[in-house]
């Protein structure tokens, strides 16, 4: 039950329409909670029915007509409640690690290329995060809210750093693995 709260957070930062939210989920918030436009429209309907948000009264809505939402006090309260409520970490699910484990049993033929591809993707993501860091968090003056958002970005940077290092190491292992592919 995190998508509604991701949307509430985004709307708190700035009232938006469904499509604007979708675009913003492709950037910042979506870096750690992705969502498609179908999910977002569905969830906006629920949030409005629950009295957590409302459409901005400026314009009359119709199909194909832009419709912007803002957070109501009840929505803000719900977001604060959820943010403070204790939640267990979800057990991790990583396909690549699973594939490596399978490769240990059925042979490693073919997987190396994809490791290289993943390494490249993670390097790009890391570069993107570091760009954002330089742009949004120049050294020096940071307000209390900035420090929290910087902390979140730092987690992204550290995670991508971990993946690039680990994949590099994995490829080195493959390099001196005996070439008895296809057992």
């Amino acid at each position: 039950m995190s998508l509604p709260h991701a949307i509430l957070t985004a709307l708190m930062e700035k009232p938006s329409s469904g499509l604007e939210l979708t675009r913003r989920f492709d950037r910042s918030i979506g870096y750690f909670w992705s969502a498609t436009h179908q999910q977002i429209y569905r969830e906006l309907g629920k949030l409005e029915a629950d009295g957590f948000i409302r459409t901005l009264p400026t314009e009359q809505p119709a199909r194909g007509q832009k419709k912007s939402y803002e957070v109501l006090p009840a929505g803000r309260a719900e977001l604060a409640r959820w943010s403070a409520a204790s939640q267990d970490p979800k057990p991790m699910r990583d396909v690549l690690l699973l594939r490596l484990r399978a490769a240990a049993v059925v042979g490693t033929a073919g997987i190396e290329d994809d490791l290289r591809r993943h390494l490249d993707l993670h390097r790009r993501q890391l570069a993107e995060y570091e760009e954002i860091e330089q742009r949004d968090f120049p050294p020096g003056k940071e307000g209390p809210e900035d420090r929290l958002r910087h902390l979140v970005l730092q987690a992204g940077i550290d995670l991508e750093t971990f993946w690039t290092r680990w994949l590099t190491r994995a490829l080195e292992e493959f390099a001196d693995l005996p070439t008895e592919r296809n057992r």
Copy 2:
């Protein structure tokens, strides 16, 4: 579509019944691909229908009766195909990071306790991984398969190390954050 392949990998390592698989998913394989017994039974049925596995012919099955499965050649081939096939990394979804981002907007009251709890959980997991490393991968002799499985374990160790460090740092930030909780 990873659960069937996780099960195939587990069955390749050792033919098992549904409950035995469930227990093994609580350990090793479940560390990066968790599954409940309901999922496993459902999937075993599909895998058998697809001709990837079969019940060990020794015993006749009935409800409440143990039923063990082994992988057929077609199953092994499917596992090799899947392991080598290129797959995009899934966009990450992390509730804790999302909550921190929400906290940057609605205030940080209450979240600190849960950060401490998460830190403790990740420290325990790290300790567990390091125990497994010492037990299963003593320095020195490692076959090629061992090196791959060690590599996977290393990813787990590195990830838990990242989380413990990041959470420690986050808690330090909270310590010198101005105590204007509840904005």
